[in-house]
């Protein structure tokens, strides 16, 4: 058994106070502590973004990869070392935008990796531009005239790629449900993606 203390690092989170990424971090640490998976058998691959910055705050084997590439890196780890539990943490920009081709590939392969998407509908680390999930019409820094594209909805398009994979959507605000879904994702055999509906307290105002 791993304790939550053992999963901590010397570094305190650097997110804005009130950021929903805190909730995702807490849920993940709880789920890992409650699971039978030892820290040395866990590899978390982080994307680049606010969500990916979680890398410094969880004590397991980890790769802080490149923007968009976390899923592909995770697939490589899992292919070579099926004994490891391989987790991906990324934002809507990295997972559904820059790295979409890898998401499609992982879903097609039903790669046994667990992907947690901090979906805040924005590119937040880069200070709040539109992402693939931004609602139509929303004005952001890169789309001051309003977004004209249809948003991507993971729970709709991923099952169309492969209906064998596990995809769920959950609100970070509903903590009990969030923690339950994280555990379920970790327990699923095969590809699992949990889309965590989050609010970016610093740049999310644009969306309302």
């Amino acid at each position: 058994m791993t304790t939550i203390a053992e999963l901590r690092t010397p570094h305190a989170p650097t997110w804005c106070p009130g950021c929903d990424d805190f909730l995702l971090l807490a849920g993940l640490q709880q789920a890992l502590a409650a699971s039978a998976i030892p820290t040395e058998k866990t590899v978390i691959v982080y994307d680049i973004g606010c969500a990916g910055n979680m890398a410094d705050f969880v004590h397991t084997y980890a790769v802080h990869s490149l923007h968009g590439r976390s899923i592909a890196v995770a697939m490589g780890i899992k292919l070579f070392r099926p004994d490891l539990t391989v987790i991906v943490i990324g934002g809507d920009g990295g997972i559904y935008g820059e790295g979409l081709n890898h998401l499609v590939a992982a879903a097609r392969a039903n790669s046994d990796i667990k992907v947690f998407v901090s979906n805040n509908y924005l590119y937040s680390l880069t200070t709040g531009q539109t992402s693939p999930t931004t609602p139509k019409g929303a004005k952001t820094k890169s789309t001051p005239l309003g977004v004209t594209n249809e948003p991507l909805v993971a729970s709709r398009f991923i099952p169309a790629i492969n209906d064998q994979v596990w995809v769920q959507k959950v609100s970070a605000k509903n903590i009990a449900e969030l923690n339950g879904e994280i555990k379920e994702a970790l327990n699923h055999q095969g590809f699992a993606l949990l889309d965590v509906d989050e609010n970016c307290v610093s740049f999310g105002k644009q969306l309302r």
Binding site: H11, V43, G76
Partner: protein, 558 residues
């Protein structure tokens, strides 16, 4: 000096030009000849103009020759664009009834198609040509039959019939063209191997276990070869969604302990650039096998070029150490493939192996690489940690301890951000400089294990040819053919990055230095000029997608 012969088959794609040429080569190797093949084909699947040439001799051989002794035009008209390759003694066997005679050489109409139909199918036209050649070069029909049986399995009988038909036809109609050659005696257990297969064998013998790629000529041969061997040698071979995925997946496997490589050509290599940089900072060791073809962009997909050297050396944004090896023969493609895996693992950095179409897709006679064992460098990994593992410890050699996932107490982050000794992100100037300098030290530490430049020729030489990669073959062949007492030596640079400062001492005493490169802008020349005192008196380049031929270099040198 032993005479060198060349037989060339030409015709449309789909008629077995390549497999006919390969059969001929295998037969020649079985007789004990040294063989160096070269093929040209357009980027299409049917039709067009394809050639496969087999250059062979009883002695040593470094490159295919330009001059052809026996030419087969399998369907009408395929000889016209080869007039410059013919001598007054060249026999052009062409399947055309009324043919305009070439200005040099003897054209003989040979009813190849009719003969093949008589045997059973046009597909055996190539084997008929082999039979014809076998008679003219005094080959042993038993050895030929044995090779055909080995090659064709259940189609052997028909191909033996085809071979015999060619043989009998030559005996009846072409004996005026019998060549004077004595096939060497003795056992020959060499094999016909191209650069891609040699690379693949090097990967296997060097303990490689994870290869990913996206098809791109002329690197695809390595993917096909390793994919076919994956079960026998327990390899992971992954054809991923794109080259970004290819490189990222391999980097994940390498992080998890694989000896990993990716293969591609220039376009795919462009997509892998961010991974090269990422391997640099995360210190994930993996190999990039870059098989060049002429760019820019889609370029000439099936031709050759050394045009990516500077791009390879400068690949990946930011400043980080990398090693770039350039095999100068098919055998070195094998050796450097194994070595690159060692270097990547030992020094935890990206290692590039730069080849090109000429080297990767030309087959030669080589010892059986499936039996050639190599001793890998031993690389230590941490067995246990105390929960505070310094994956990026500042060490005098720059090489830090490695742990693989699964090791208790050695958890760490492989971090693409600049980081401290544990892997945690860091932005302060001290840590930044310390880590950059640590990583850079690895190049000095690696130096004793990097292939040195090799000097060929007499110490009395006054003119030095400097070359790298596939150009070494034609250069060495030209030196071999030059009259005794010629003033030339050749230096083959095999580690193209980092540049060994000793090259300065090796080159500085020659009154004349000539660099020879298969690119437009003399890229190695540029690199050497930037790194050492190096002042070539002449630069020879070629950038039409074709390799140098020894004959054209001899003209340049005399």
């Amino acid at each position: 000096m032993e005479k060198v012969f060349t037989i060339k088959l030409a015709g449309p794609a789909g008629l077995g030009i390549k497999s006919g040429g390969q059969l001929l080569s295998q037969i020649l190797i079985a007789h004990g000849f040294s063989v160096h093949d070269y093929n040209e084909y357009p980027s299409l699947v049917r039709g067009g103009h394809n050639t496969y040439q087999v250059t062979f001799t009883t002695g040593e051989l470094f490159a295919p020759h330009h001059t052809v002794d026996l030419f087969f035009s399998i369907t009408p008209g395929h000889w016209q664009q080869h007039l410059k390759e013919f001598t007054p003694n060249t026999l052009i066997a062409a399947d055309e009834k009324v043919a305009a005679a070439p200005t040099t050489g003897h054209l003989e109409s040979v009813p190849l198609k009719d003969m093949s139909i008589e045997v059973g199918t046009v597909i055996v036209t190539n084997t008929i040509c082999v039979g014809l050649a076998a008679f003219l070069f005094h080959l042993d029909p038993e050895i030929c039959h044995a090779q055909i049986t080995q090659q064709f399995g259940k189609n052997a009988e028909m191909n033996i019939k085809a071979f015999d038909a060619g043989w009998v036809y030559a005996q009846k109609h072409l004996s005026a063209y019998l060549q004077s050659v004595n096939p060497p005696k003795g056992v020959a257990n060499r094999k016909l191997v191209d650069g891609n297969e040699a690379y693949g064998w090097g990967f296997i013998q060097g303990g490689g276990n994870f290869y990913s790629a996206y098809p791109m000529t002329p690197a695809t041969g390595a993917l096909h070869f390793l994919a076919a061997k994956q079960q026998e040698y327990k390899l992971h071979v992954v054809h991923a969604e794109d080259e970004i995925g290819v490189a990222s997946i391999a980097s994940g496997a390498a992080f998890a302990g694989a000896r990993a490589a990716v293969g591609t050509s220039g376009g795919g290599f462009a997509l892998m650039n961010e991974t090269i940089s990422y391997c640099g900072v995360t210190e994930i060791g993996m190999v990039f096998y870059l098989v060049s073809r002429p760019g820019p962009a889609t370029g000439l997909p099936t031709y050759t070029s050394q045009g990516d050297l500077l791009y390879a050396i400068n690949s990946g944004h930011g400043e980080f150490p990398k090693i770039v090896l350039a095999p100068s023969s098919q055998l070195e493609s094998f050796e450097f493939s194994a070595l690159s895996l060692d270097l990547a693992a030992a020094y935890q950095l990206p290692v590039l192996v730069v080849s090109d179409k000429f080297l990767a897709e030309s087959a030669v006679s080589l010892e059986d690489l499936s039996q050639k064992k190599v001793t890998p460098l031993s690389v230590e990994v941490v067995k246990e940690g105390d929960g505070h593992f310094k994956r990026y410890a500042l060490t005098p050699t720059g090489v830090s301890p490695v742990a693989l996932p699964g090791t208790k107490g050695a958890e760490f982050i492989a971090n693409s951000y600049e980081h401290d000794e544990y892997g945690y992100s860091a932005e302060d100037s001290e840590t930044t400089v310390a880590q950059l300098e640590k990583r850079h030290r690895k190049l000095d530490s690696a130096k004793p294990n990097l292939p040195k430049a090799v000097l060929h020729g007499s110490p009395k030489a006054t003119k030095l040819i400097v070359c790298w990669g596939s150009v070494a073959g034609p250069v060495l062949e030209a030196l071999r053919l030059l009259p005794a007492g010629h003033p030339y030596a050749a230096l083959v640079v095999r580690t193209v990055w980092p540049i060994d400062p000793e090259i300065e001492a090796l080159t500085k005493n020659y009154p004349e230095i000539i660099t020879v490169e298969n690119n437009q802008t003399a890229q190695l020349t540029t690199v050497l000029r930037s790194q050492i005192n190096f002042h070539p008196t002449r630069v020879i380049t070629k950038f039409d997608g074709r390799p140098f031929y020894p004959e054209e270099l001899i003209k340049e040198f005399t």
